[in-house]
Structure formats: C-alpha cells, structure tokens
C-alpha cells in the first residue's frame, strides 16, 4: 500500500538570491501549466504552488518529494543547492507560518496572505488542488487571520515612507484639498510622495535646483514642476513638505518658515526632512503649527515597530503551533474512515470466501435460489455484525477521536496487512475521505 503524504520543496529570500528566485518564479498561465504538469506526474495526487517575488514553494501530496524537486531543477539547475524540503506536519507548519507572515522579509506584512490565497485559487482552478489542499489552505488562512487579530504583528509602520504616511495622517486626517511639496530629487523623497498618494492629496508640487531633473521627477510622481526660486512661495501653498536634496546646509531656514507661517495664517504644515546632512533647520519644529521630523525621528519609529513586531511574533508562533496540532489531529480523526472501509472490505471478503466454500461442498444439492440465499445470509451476517462498529467509528471520526479507530484496527487485526495507512499522518485523502479510502483499497 502506498503512503502518500504532504511534501514541500521551496526556496525563499532566506535561502536563495534574487537571480535564482526570478528564474523559477512563475505567474498566471505559466503557473497553471506548471501545476498541470506537476499534477500529471507519477504519484502526485494534489499540488499547490506559492510563487511570489520572495519565495517559490511547491506543496505536493505524493509518495515522495522528487516531483517537487524536479519543478525547480528543470527550470534552473543552480536552484538545487538553495532548496529546502519539509514533509508532514513540518510542511503544514511552514505553510501556516508563511500565510501568517512570520516567514516574510518584513514580518507581519499583509500582502503574503493575499498571495497565498491567490496561489490556492489558481491551483484550485487548474484542478491541481483537491480536498486535502483545500482543507490545508483554509486552515492556513484561518491561522493567518487569528494571528492578525490576536497579535499586534501587523501593527506599526516598518518603512520610512509608511511612517511618513502615518505621521501626516495623524496631523491632517486625509489630504483632500491639500498639496504635497517635494523639495529635491532624492529617491526617498519620491518614494514617500508616492506613498502619500493614498491620503488623497490633490496636488504634488516638485521643485529642484536642476530643472531638468526636477521635471523628470515631476512626471514620475505625476506632479507639477515649479522653479527653485519659488520655494518661499511654495512653502505657503503646500501642507506637507518632503525635503531630500543633496545640499550640505539648510535649504529651509527658521526665518523662511516664520515668514511662510505668517503668510499661511498659521495653517498647519508638516516638514519631513529625509536628507543627511539635514536640509531643514531643526528649530523650525519649535514654531507653532509646524510639525517637523527628520530621518532620525522616522528611523526611531521604524525600529521601535520592528522591535514590537518581534515580540508579537513569539505569540504568533504559539498560535501557529496550536493550529498545526489541531489540523494534524483532525486529519488523524479522518483516518477513522479508512479503518472502517478496510474493516468492511475484509469482512466482506471473508463472507464471500466462506459462502463460496460452503457452496463448493453442498452447492450441488441446491438450486439457483438456494445458492443466492447462502450468499445473502453471509452478507447479512456481516452487515448486522458491523452495524454497531460502523456507527461508533463514524461518530469518532466526526468528533475527532483518534483512539477508537486505533483500537478498532488493533482489535480486528487490521494493522498487519492491507491497511491503507492507519497512521493518519501518512494518509492524505483526496476528496471525500471515504471515496478516497475505497478507491485506495480497490488498488
């Protein structure tokens, strides 16, 4: 009897460099084809592939991991040395951790769950994922949801631009009807300006010493370029100012700010200085209605949030662990159904054999009707005898009891022969467990 179980082979940002990852990563139709190919391979009953820019992981329900390994080596030979492989509960735990964003580059980021869901949807549409993968993935999603709601793992911004968004949001709420000013063409500045778009700013103004570079940046962030000479005027118009020039000294001085605040009639303004050395005089932040932050302030928030997330990750791991245990137990409970199938099959086999033996010795004296009666009697004895055990075992399967199927297997001596993987761990049924069990037994 074959023992089919869950195998995982994969590589991620932790094990493989980007140039290996990009060679094995697949999306859309290419991934669908790959799934079909996997499913078609010998011994693979179900398959599911998570492919993002940070990881490519192949989950298969099979007798061995060879098919999953082949997925990688056929695409890039050098992938071999970066692969990790897990099976059984280890593989289940890995998937739960990935979905819960515990294995992500930025722990607690939210995208990964969506990506795993998408991956499952694709595998399901390609008919590569069946009953077992469905249960596995749904459990993974539920685990991820628990982790997100019960721990603070996703809380707090972990990038500078996200911190900028949080800060601005706490000052202005949203940016409808307000303007963002980008001073200088630094990369961080452009990133933050883009991130701030989620707050719905009406206009993005861009100014830069070099007009050419400034115009370039303006088209990049979908903003309007304004000449450098208008900076003082721009400070009056804009509500959020992001400064990242390469200048060695203050570009925005306290005096400039004082004049600007008067002209603004003291409307709030947020100055975010992303340049090192600083481009905004730190004393600007002492003025009323001016909220000024520099790289250090933002960095502090980022590292504090990282720290907090690490603490939450410990709690998240505990949740994952309990879910893995629960999932495995459930699977073991499902193993009660195959025990039942085996029991029935064996009893019927005995009944058939005994009927035949009887008929061989006395069958000559019986007519057609008599022969059929003997067969029916044998069948009836089996049915009556197994009626009780069948009901009990079904109950046990439903309530997650793993002891009874084990006891039944031992009592009826099912362990010794033709038993289709009573150790639930090894058995991962395809589709409804009973159908799977009977088909396996038929083999």
């Amino acid at each position: 009897m074959s023992r089919s179980r869950l195998f995982l082979v994969g590589l991620s940002h932790k094990s493989a460099p980007i140039d290996v990852r990009e060679r094995v990563a697949l999306t859309g139709d290419a991934l669908k084809d790959a799934l079909a190919q996997l499913k078609g391979m010998d011994g693979v009953t179900e398959a599911f592939v998570v492919s993002t820019c940070n990881r490519v992981e192949v989950f298969i329900q099979a007798e061995g991991e060879a098919a999953a390994r082949h997925f990688f080596t056929s695409r890039a030979e050098q992938a071999e040395e970066h692969l990790y492989a897990k099976q059984g509960p280890e593989a289940v735990r890995h998937l739960f951790r990935v979905a819960s964003s515990l294995d992500s580059m930025v722990v607690g980021e939210q995208q990964i769950l969506g990506q795993v869901k998408e991956a499952y949807g694709l595998a399901s549409a390609a008919q590569a994922a069946g009953g077992f993968m469905s249960r596995l993935c749904n459990r993974a999603f539920a685990t991820a949801k628990r982790v997100r709601t019960e721990t603070g793992i996703g809380r707090g911004a972990t990038s500078m631009s996200q911190v900028a968004v949080d800060l601005v949001e706490k000052i202005f709420g949203d940016l409808a009807g307000r303007a963002i000013l980008l001073v200088g063409a630094g990369k961080m500045g452009a990133l933050s300006a883009k991130a701030l778009r989620v707050l719905g700013a009406d206009t993005i103004l861009v100014t830069n010493r070099s007009e050419e570079r400034g115009r370039q940046l303006a088209s990049q962030v979908e903003g309007t370029f304004r000449p450098w000479g208008e900076l003082s005027q721009l400070l009056v118009e804009a509500d959020v100012v992001i400064v990242s020039t390469g200048a060695p000294s203050f570009v925005i001085t306290a005096d400039m700010m004082r004049t600007a605040m008067k002209a603004r009639r003291h409307r709030n303004i947020c100055l975010i200085d992303l340049a090192v050395p600083r481009n905004v005089d730190p004393t600007c932040a002492d003025l009323g209605d001016v909220y000024g932050y520099d790289v250090d302030d933002m960095e502090k928030v980022v590292s504090a949030n990282h720290e907090a997330r690490r603490g939450e990750a410990v709690r998240a791991e505990a949740i994952v662990e309990s879910e893995v245990v629960a999932f495995t137990q459930e699977r073991e409970a499902r193993a009660a159904l195959p025990v039942l199938a085996t029991l029935r099959q064996r009893a019927e086999k005995i009944a058939r054999a005994e009927a035949e033996r009887t008929l061989a010795s006395v069958g000559g004296k019986l007519d057609q009707k008599g022969r059929r009666s003997v067969e029916a009697m044998a069948q009836a004895i089996v049915n009556k005898l197994l009626h009780g055990p069948t009901a009990r075992l079904k109950e046990a399967a439903a309530s997650g009891d793993t002891a009874l199927p084990g006891a039944a297997a031992a009592l009826f001596g099912l362990d010794e022969q033709d038993q289709p993987a009573r150790s639930g761990r090894g058995r991962e049924g395809n589709g409804a467990a009973r159908a799977a069990a009977s088909s396996e037994n038929a083999q």
Binding site: R155, G156, L167, E169, K170, I171, F172, G173, R265, H266, R267, N268, A285, G288, D289, Y291, Y293, D297, K300, V301, A304
Partner: protein, 280 residues
C-alpha cells in the same frame, strides 16, 4: 428608586468607557461600546423619568437635577455625533466626562427646591432648562475633544509615538469637531439665555436683575461668542483647544460656585420670590 436606576446607568457608562478605551480603533469594540452607551442612556432616561414621577419635575431645580440632565444631554449628543463623525476614541473621553458629571450625585438624594406651581407651568422655563443643559452638554463634549487635541498635539509635535498617538484621531478631525461643537453649543446656549430672560420677566418681573447667575451666564456666553469669532480670525489648534477647555472650566466653576454659597443667587431657588427680596 430613581437613584438606584441612576447607579445602574453609571455602571453601564463605565462598561461603555472600558470598551471604548480598551480598543478605540477596533470596529467591533466601538460598536459594543456604542451599544453600552445607548443602554446606559436608556437607563439614565428611565431614572430621570422615575425622578419626575417621584418629585414632579422639581428635581430639575437643584444642582443635582441640572447635572443629571446635563450628563444625559452629553450622552445623547455623543450618540448623535458618532453617527456623523466616526471617532470612537472620542467616546473614551466623553463617557468618563458623563461619569464625572454624575458621580457626585450617585451618593444620595439631595434636597428638593420649593417651586411655585405657576412657575412650573411656564413653558419657557421648561425649554430654558433643556436648552441650558444641552448647551452645557455641547461645551462638555467640546472640552473632551479639546483635551484629546491637546494630548494628541503633544504626542505628534513632541515625536512621542506612544499609546495615545495610535489611539487618538488625527489633529485635524479633532480641531474641526471642537470648533463645530463650540459653535453649536453657543447657538443653543444663546437660546437658553433668551428663554431664561423670558422666564425671569414672568417670574422675577424683570428680564435682567443682575443676579450672579445671570452675570456669570453672560460672561460664559461672551466667552464662547469670542471663541466663535476667533475661529473666523484664523485661530485654531492648540490655543483654541486650550481656550475651549477654559470655557468649560468656567461653566463648571460658576455653576458649582454659585450653589456653594447659599443665597448668592435666587436662580433655581424659590421662584415665587422676587430678587429684591433676597435669600432662598
């Protein structure tokens, strides 16, 4: 009886406060908090109804009755406000405010004033009481929101991104809400003063008699009127929030102060006697 029911309302207010404060940004917690508050409000209403039955409306003429009514209006005002501004964090500041207003009156019954029947039947008086309480309730909520602004401003400006930072709403929303509450409170309070003058004309025979209550009310009215004007002059933010808080402090100090000194004002005292005739 009404006191027991009021105590029950207080317990429900505490429950609302705890749910609001525990997870102000949690959608479900906010909804539960709102339900607790609604329940507290309902029980509070029942308590006032029972009070009316027990003493026949006289209870509104004592400091106690006035405050119980004010707390009630604060609760209903917040319930209305939260329909339009989704800021459950405000609930974490408004519910303790209601409790603070009610707390001194949970201990005992307090004495009831003697009021002439004819006075009670004056409709202007009824409206005067309700509008005055509603106006003060608006000022009370404005106080709570302004306090939130000051705290949040300190976090944002001082780069302390702690527990309050993540829990409190954006400065802009708090600022806007403060201003609207002040303006609305001012309008209601204006009506209350006019109705008060009508009542005084009928009962005291003079719309304006330099009673300390009238003087302090005028000061408060001018103060909030000034606040409304300052907004048009561009005042906002921290200074505005602080002034809003000063305004409410003024309201509480004068109301409690006037009652602490017996005979200082005839307001809410015996309405059958003219002001010239002095005490009680």
């Amino acid at each position: 009886m009404s006191l027991t029911v009021l105590r029950l309302a207080a317990v429900l207010y505490v429950a609302a406060y705890l749910t609001y404060f525990a997870r102000p940004r949690h959608v479900l917690a906010a909804r539960i908090g709102a339900w607790f508050l609604a329940a507290a409000f309902a029980v509070h209403t029942a308590s006032m109804g029972l009070g009316c039955k027990e003493v026949g409306g006289l209870e509104f003429f004592s400091l106690r009755g006035g405050f119980v009514l004010t707390g009630w209006t604060v609760a209903v005002a917040y319930l209305v406000v939260q329909r339009f501004y989704h800021l459950p964090a405000v609930g974490a500041f408004v519910t303790p405010l209601v409790l603070l207003i009610l707390a001194p009156f949970l201990v005992g019954e307090g004495h009831q004033a003697e009021v002439a029947k004819a006075t009670l039947q004056n409709p202007a008086l009824t409206f005067h009481i309700f509008t005055a309480a509603a106006g003060v309730a608006m000022f009370a909520i404005a106080f709570g929101v302004a306090l939130m602004y000051v705290l949040q401003e300190r976090e944002v400006k001082g780069k302390r991104f702690g527990v309050l930072f993540s829990r409190l709403p954006p400065l802009q929303s708090l600022d806007t809400l403060t201003q609207r509450l002040v303006r609305l409170g001012f309008v209601i309070f204006t009506v209350a003063l006019l109705l008060g003058a009508f009542t005084a004309k009928a009962v005291w025979k003079s719309a304006w008699s330099w009673d300390p209550q009238q003087i302090t009310s005028l000061v408060i009215w001018l103060f909030y009127g000034g606040l409304v004007q300052l907004r048009h002059a561009g005042w906002h933010g921290r200074r505005y929030a602080l002034l809003t808080m000063v305004g409410f402090a003024l309201v509480i100090v004068t109301r409690v102060g006037l009652h602490a000194i017996p005979g200082l004002t005839i307001h809410t005292g015996s309405y059958s006697v003219g002001p010239q005739e002095g005490t009680q």
